[in-house]
Symmetry: C2
Amino acid sequence: MNAMTAENLRSAFGGESQAHMRYRVWAKKAEEEGFKNVATLFRAISYAEEVHASNHFEALKDEKGDFLVASGSGFGLGTTSENLQAAADGEMFEVEQMYPAYKAVAEMQGEKLAARFMHYALEAEKTHAELYLKAKDSVDEGKDFNIDSVHVCEICGYTTIDEAPDVCPVCGAKIEKFKAFSE
Amino acid sequence: MNAMTAENLRSAFGGESQAHMRYRVWAKKAEEEGFKNVATLFRAISYAEEVHASNHFEALKDEKGDFLVASGSGFGLGTTSENLQAAADGEMFEVEQMYPAYKAVAEMQGEKLAARFMHYALEAEKTHAELYLKAKDSVDEGKDFNIDSVHVCEICGYTTIDEAPDVCPVCGAKIEKFKAFSE
Ligand SMILES: [Fe+2]
Ligand SMILES: [Fe+2]
Ligand SMILES: [Fe+2]
Ligand SMILES: [Fe+2]
Ligand SMILES: [Fe+2]
Ligand SMILES: [Fe+2]
């Protein structure tokens, strides 16, 4: 594999693994504050980040060994409103800066699997940013996020509320490939 | 918080988050190869790394913002025997190099909570390295790891097989604080 694509995959793996973990911590905080559906949203999106991290790890399966990995990551344990804003900001950075750059490099280098996984993450993060901002609007009005369930595509991490689509709009997976999260 | 302790906590958070994720991928591989108890061991230790990552994140709770995090991380998807060896090597690096250094810095800087969490991880990683090497011995003889269950302390990540201790030898938590994993 080309060195720059491998380095980008490692960086993205590190960033996704840390987002996965951060969202699990923030889910507990949301639960403590009584926002059970926000907690469900954090847990579902944490799973979507696991899908991304696992995809990147798989694309790197033959690049064996120990590496120093540099990844952007957010820190801090604020109120749930603050945590939702920080989460949305992180997702938007991935949508506007990180994944378009990593996808362009993978395409330029002819790394098809890496390009596909960068594309999946780029599209999925858009749904994450939007859901976090909607949830923040509810929390800022003192209300829990008004949803029944969250559905995550196991193939690409696309995330939606209340009902899974028949076919994933990002990767084309069928409805059976969606994992449901509820309280 | 002192800058060097904060940087070490962020690096350790990144490393633990990536170990958590890597062990989940390797658990699936062990399952595919028919080593169900090795898969259970990987999943249990993955949870222990979540305990470490969450502790480090909590110690950093007031250090808010976005950071570039540099962490050591292993890559590659080999046979289960190879994955167990790579896992043990990573744990031994943490035991011999990373956590003693981070713990010494935290103690020198008077950062008590960070020093305690570095100590917890240092001691827990010893149990991880030992269990991975035992599991590898079984796998190299073509047999699954001969255990009933794995028990992880939710406070410090100390990990043991078959029975949880009455009191955690690392952090003093009672048996109720142990989480059990089995097939
Ligand atoms: Fe992601
Ligand atoms: Fe995301
Ligand atoms: Fe999908
Ligand atoms: Fe650890
Ligand atoms: Fe460990
Ligand atoms: Fe303990």
